[in-house]
């Protein structure tokens, strides 16, 4: 008898839970946005900061009643897929998104993954926002990829120019991991430096992705005594070790990179040795962050225990997707409408102080609007935090 009562109670509880879930889901229709990127292995930090940024914003939207597009208010659901930085897995991930009827995907995080998913995305009507720099992804006949950040060939020259003018930099050395992304970033960085008249004293030193001790790797570069050491495409995991080794080997010059970094990781890995390190960031420095950005950081921290400064650049993609859909609700299922809207789209940038705008750019670099207009914020690390060095715009 007792057992029967227990079973009955359990069944009722299960039914109630199921009913509750259905009711909760039934409140608003769900708009699924995909994420395909690397969330495991050495580069996990890049993809996880992406995924968590999207999940934080989605939870925030859902908690405050949903997101209104046209006459309908949607709950946002993030569908994630770990491509393990493998192009084959990235294709599988994009196919999964297509099967789920998703038309807007953030990622992949690296060049080869972004190139691999292009046919799947274009065949299935998916707009995707890679964090990869090859121009072929964004120039015609490519149509569906939108660069989700500032490319190194846009930020590099701006940083070099600044350093030439403000710090008298004349010689530069490049070091990169032996991988497609960092190597292509190094090559375009070298070309930009030469075009600006900098003397490139070393550009062929590379290191294995899994290198943990950079002293032997950096020793040949240190003999050249460059004014500037560029860590091309450096991952947040490697940056502190490279900085620390360079400083311990007596390097006195400036160290910079065109990738986003995390202040906490630099503090733990290199401490004061990282002071003066220049990197590309987003809009979270006190000088730039709007109240909404501050709240985003706060919510992210509460949700995941710790904020990742890389999310300063990753916060934008989902906002761009939703704002563009709001501008043209037909684009929810029709990416052609989305592409048309991109040409005239403009909305206030909620994450920055002042009158910054969300809009699509890229006419100069790609001949069509296939890049989100995130501010080119160049930061310098000082005593455990980033300070804004300068802000520029990209087109």
């Amino acid at each position: 008898m007792q057992r029967r009562a227990l079973m009955k109670a359990a069944m009722i509880a299960m039914s109630m839970t199921a009913l509750q879930t259905t009711t909760a889901l039934a409140e608003n229709p769900v708009l699924k946005i995909g994420f395909v990127g690397v969330t495991s292995g050495p580069a996990a930090s890049w993809g996880i900061s992406n995924q968590r940024s999207m999940e934080t914003r989605a939870a925030w939207i859902n908690e405050t009643g949903g997101y209104k597009i046209g006459d309908t208010t949607y709950d946002i659901e993030i569908v994630s897929f770990d491509d393990q930085k493998d192009p084959k897995r990235a294709i599988a991930g994009m196919e999964k998104m297509a099967q789920e009827g998703i038309h807007y995907v953030v990622g992949p995080n690296v060049d080869d993954g972004a190139a691999a998913v292009r046919p799947v995305a274009e065949a299935n009507g998916i707009m995707y926002f890679p964090y990869a720099f090859p121009k072929s992804l964004y120039t015609k006949p490519a149509s569906n990829a939108i660069l989700g950040m500032v490319a190194n060939y846009q930020s590099g020259p701006a940083i070099y120019k600044y350093l030439m003018k403000e710090k008298g930099v004349k010689t530069v050395a490049f070091i990169a991991a032996n991988e497609s992304d960092p190597l292509s970033q190094r090559d375009s960085g070298v070309a930009a430096a030469k075009a600006l008249g900098l003397d490139v004293v070393s550009d062929n030193v590379t290191y294995q992705v899994d290198t943990t001790d950079f002293t032997p790797v950096l020793t040949p570069i240190m003999r050249e005594r460059p004014d500037l050491l560029v860590l091309s495409g450096v991952s947040p995991a490697n940056a502190p070790q490279l900085i620390r080794s360079a400083r311990e080997l007596g390097f006195q010059g400036v160290i910079s990179t065109e990738t986003a970094q995390d202040a906490g990781v630099l503090t733990e890995g290199a401490g004061d040795l990282a002071n003066g390190f220049i990197s590309v960031g987003g809009a979270s420095t006190p000088e730039l962050a709007s109240p909404m950005m501050i709240e985003f950081v706060d919510r992210y921290t509460k949700m995941f225990g710790e904020y990742n400064d890389e999310s300063n650049t990753k916060v934008y993609a989902l906002e761009y997707i939703l704002e563009t859909l709001k501008a043209d609700p037909a684009a929810i299922t029709d990416v052609t409408a989305f592409q048309t809207t991109m040409d005239r789209f403009e909305a206030p940038n909620p994450y920055m102080k002042g009158d910054a705008k969300l809009r699509y750019v890229g006419m100069s670099s790609f001949g069509q609007r296939r890049q989100v207009a995130v501010p080119l914020v160049v930061n310098v690390f000082q005593d455990g935090a980033f300070e804004t060095l300068f802000v520029a715009e990209v087109d």
């Binding site: 050495p42 996990a44 899994d210 995390d262 990781v265 710790e306």
Partner: protein, 289 residues
């Protein structure tokens, strides 16, 4: 040249430490522990948590890494490897299990410690600079000395202690050791715990230099396998030799070949393939296993 030698000694000592635990487990149980790198990473994170986060003295934090990994290793052996070894005649069962454990540990590391690179405060400040001929931060010198001392202690333990003798007997001939009264199950567990503890120790030592992140496990395992293949699988002295050889090859390659791009590891892999084609048992391994 002096700098290359110094880098070689430093890299060789840390690599030898990494390979020791792996080869010990292989010698005792004929298990290729693909999760060795993940154990190294956990060791690093334990030291990071106690030393870097909670402010516990470094030596105590290191001890915590050793104890945590020894317990983890013992549990993995007792509840996972021992039943599989007893229940399966196929050697690949343990390999698949080891690979599964590696994935599991990776997922747990991500859940518990997060995706970020972690680092701890330097244990000693300052850089040794001999007229710019040899530049080596003091903390690297200390870690190198500690690694060499740990290797010596491990060899002495294996050579002169009762447990070490039992483990060596087990490695030489499992059946004969059993017939001589060695409790095979117990010493297998102790051996696995010791191997895992060594991974934890080197992870704890190196977190002060290289930091730690969840992606380090796989590459560390691959390097450890390379060292074991060079020295001879299951031979302690072979693992040490393999580690030192790999350390020196890397230091020389990075210094001499840097102008040609990243071809050091390409050449190391080619050399390893040629070497194994000529001597498949490695430097000190026996051709019969």
């Amino acid at each position: 040249m002096e700098q290359i030698l110094a880098n070689g000694v430093y890299l060789g000592s840390q690599y030898a430490m990494i390979a020791l635990g792996l080869t010990l487990i292989f010698a005792l149980m004929n298990v290729l522990n693909f999760a060795h790198g993940q154990m190294y990473v956990i060791g690093g994170f334990v030291t990071y948590t106690f030393y870097g986060q909670l402010g516990v003295p470094f030596v105590l934090a290191l001890l915590m890494s050793c104890i945590s990994l020894a317990i983890l290793g013992a549990l993995i052996e007792k509840f996972l490897f021992a039943p599989v070894i007893k229940g399966s005649k196929r050697e690949e069962s343990t390999m698949l299990l080891a690979a599964g454990i590696a994935f599991l540990l990776d997922a747990l590391i991500l859940l518990i410690f997060g995706e970020k690179q972690r680092g701890v405060p330097k244990i000693i400040d300052g850089v040794f600079n001999w007229d710019f001929r040899v530049i080596m931060p003091y903390d690297r010198i200390l870690i190198c000395v500690l690694a060499i001392l740990s290797i010596i202690c491990f060899i002495c333990f294996m050579q002169y202690s009762k447990t070490g003798r039992a483990l060596r007997a087990l490695a030489q001939d499992r059946t004969a050791a059993q017939l001589m009264g060695v409790n095979v199950d117990r010493y297998s567990m102790i051996g696995f715990a010791l191997g895992a503890m060594l991974a934890g120790l080197v992870g704890g030592l190196l977190v002060t230099i290289t930091g730690i992140n969840l992606g380090m496990g796989g590459p560390t395992s691959i390097k450890a396998f390379m060292m074991v293949m060079i020295g001879g699988a299951g031979v302690i002295s072979g693992a040490i030799a393999g580690g030192i050889i790999l350390g020196f090859m890397e230091a020389i390659g990075l210094a001499v070949l840097s102008q040609y791009g990243d071809i050091t590891y390409l050449l190391i892999f080619v050399s390893l393939m040629i070497f194994l084609a000529i001597r498949p048992q490695g430097l000190m391994g026996k051709p019969w296993g």
